[in-house]
């Protein structure tokens, strides 16, 4: 199996694809302007998975500088002063409001961008010393709502499990939970349980692979998984049944929907957290994911010629592959970033 993988896997093409994405994105991606940091996160994590950064030669050949990326990320950190709104700390998604911006009402950090920034910095070997930890942690207090969920910006936004996950990941990375009400978060996650055993994005809504990952990973990061399954007798069984039922060949995100490569990670990682990743037929899933590999590098969401590869599906395809392929550097299934770099970041402290 392994030797087949290396011949099938278009490593060089993938490197070219992610490097290109790091440098420019085509104009139809204008809507991602506010989320550039997440795109960089996807590209950097993907390059790390394929071992790109391990070779100085690679960095020279493709003229990528880790330091340059680190500086760019730090330039997106909002500088909060006593006059800034309490929610302003964190990172902003792009330079659309300038660089090194002072925290003001309309210049505020974005939870998902802060998460992306921390993951990417760690993966590039940064020690986070320049991160405004205390301000970020205290901003969380103001972003959390009465029902336990989180908004992503102080300006106001939708609130759901995605941002609960971002908050948990941030607290876990910075080892500081003082800015969040864990109990309220846990109750919110419980309120997203669906009648068929999974989790919805908001209470009442349909079960979904992405939200299920966000909720389960959050509980795991809080160390609250075991108590949750103890509290809800039978839930773990229902959840496992739901997750494994999502496999057709590839994974679907909800019952009776189409297969999509990113759910390999959302569901695969959820099962990995539950210690059940072998419950999936990984050979069949691998076939599906590899069939979505593009000749130009990257992966698309489905295997047809109308869907070109995109950063999100490329990263999540690689992320799932990294769980089982020894030729790849694994992603941490709870944090969604390079496992080895996170561990060495932890050791440094």
């Amino acid at each position: 199996m392994s030797s087949n993988f290396e011949t099938e896997f278009k490593r060089v093409r993938h490197i070219q694809y992610f490097v290109k994405c790091l440098k420019t994105l085509p104009s139809k991606h204008a809507a991602l302007d506010t989320n550039r940091l997440t795109m960089v996160h996807f590209a950097v994590q993907s390059l790390e998975i394929v071992g790109f950064f391990d070779s100085q030669e690679n960095l020279k050949t493709y003229s990528i500088s880790k330091e340059e990326i680190i500086e760019w990320i730090y330039s997106l950190q909002v500088i909060s002063s006593p006059q800034s709104p309490p929610t302003s700390a964190g990172f902003i998604g792009g330079s659309f409001l300038g660089l090194n911006v002072d925290g003001e009402y309309y210049n505020q950090g974005h939870l998902a961008m802060t998460y992306s920034a921390l993951c990417t910095l760690i993966t590039l070997g940064d020690d986070l010393k320049r991160v405004h930890r205390n301000e970020i942690i205290s901003a969380l207090k103001y972003l959390q709502l009465n029902d336990g969920s989180f908004q992503c910006v102080g300006l106001g936004s939708e609130y759901d499990l995605r941002f609960v996950y971002c908050a948990c990941a941030i607290c876990h990375i910075l080892e500081d939970w003082s800015g969040v009400d864990q109990h309220a978060m846990i109750q919110y996650i419980y309120s997203c349980k669906t009648y068929d055993g999974a989790l919805s994005l908001v209470p009442g809504q349909e079960c979904h692979g992405g939200s299920t990952y966000c909720g389960i990973a959050s509980l795991a990061l809080m160390g609250a998984l075991d108590q949750s399954f103890y509290h809800f007798n039978g839930w773990k069984d229902d959840l496992i049944r739901w997750c494994v039922s999502r496999q057709i060949e590839g994974m679907q995100g909800r019952p009776n929907k189409l297969e999509d490569t990113c759910y390999s990670y959302w569901i695969g990682a959820t099962l990995k957290i539950l210690d059940c990743e072998n419950y999936l037929d990984r050979d069949v899933l691998r076939c599906f994911v590899m069939a979505c590999q593009s000749d130009l590098g990257g992966f698309s969401k489905v295997r047809d010629e109308y869907h070109p590869p995109d950063l999100l599906h490329s990263f999540y395809s690689l992320a799932w592959l990294s769980f089982s392929q020894q030729e790849l550097n694994p992603i941490d299934c709870m944090l969604g970033m390079s496992r080895r770099h996170f561990l060495s970041f932890r050791k440094k402290k």
Partner: protein, 296 residues
Amino acid sequence: LELTAVCLRLNPANYTTWWFRRQILSSQSLPTQDINSKFTYFSEALICKDLKLVSELGGSNPKNYQIWYHRRSLLEKLFSDIATGLSNEKTSSLLGDELNYIDSVFEEDAKNYHAWSHRQWILKTVNLAVKWTEEVDVVDKLIKEDIRNNSAWNHRWFVVHRGSKSVPISLVVAREEMKFSISKALLDPYNESAWQYCVALVKEQRQAIGNTTEYIDFLGSCEDAITDTKKLFEEQSKKDSMECIHMIAAYINVLEMKGDDKSLAIAQELSEKLGQQYDTVRRTYWMLRSKQLQSM
């Protein structure tokens, strides 16, 4: 307003631009803001105008979080007022229009997650008995159009529970819901949505009324429905009902809930058969499930 509209046409995902726009709209709305209200007041005229712009942008961006959030921000106060009885003809018509807008989005994609979230938010916010009742017809129609539309099934659960996550439905209602889902399962025994709905109904009553005779009766009716469906399927299609893996999975759930030795033995056997022959992509899961049932 012109400027933000231009910017939004270029990038409808820029949340700062949307926020600016709402600041402008609210400052143009009279009377002035009630500082005690947690919702921003926008004048109805401006709401109508902006919904038009948003619908325009929404057309090619049906999955844009900021656009849906903007619709909600515009309507939050108005719809909350409906719940407290402070509504008028204009707000009722806006309510109808908004639900119709979501219907139009469903015509393009009956599973659009954002559209469903928005719809559920509206129903819970206005909390009108008549709307809850009408909604059953909406769900029925969508399930008729696509019996496998899991979003519609989920919405049925939501509507029947009046949006509550904590109050179970009564046994009377559960029986009606069981009738409904079994009738749909019969039309398409391969459909996971219908079978999971059945199982969930049984599980909920177990929680709600405990291991009572009524519950055992209800559980029994579900089991009978499954065995009847199996028989009918085999008679009509001449195929092995084990092929309907979601029906068999539901049957295993029900047998497990029965919990007696005979039922568990059947459940164990079925799990093994699924893993070995009929649902091999889940072989590992079914073999472990079979072991689990054996040890019970």
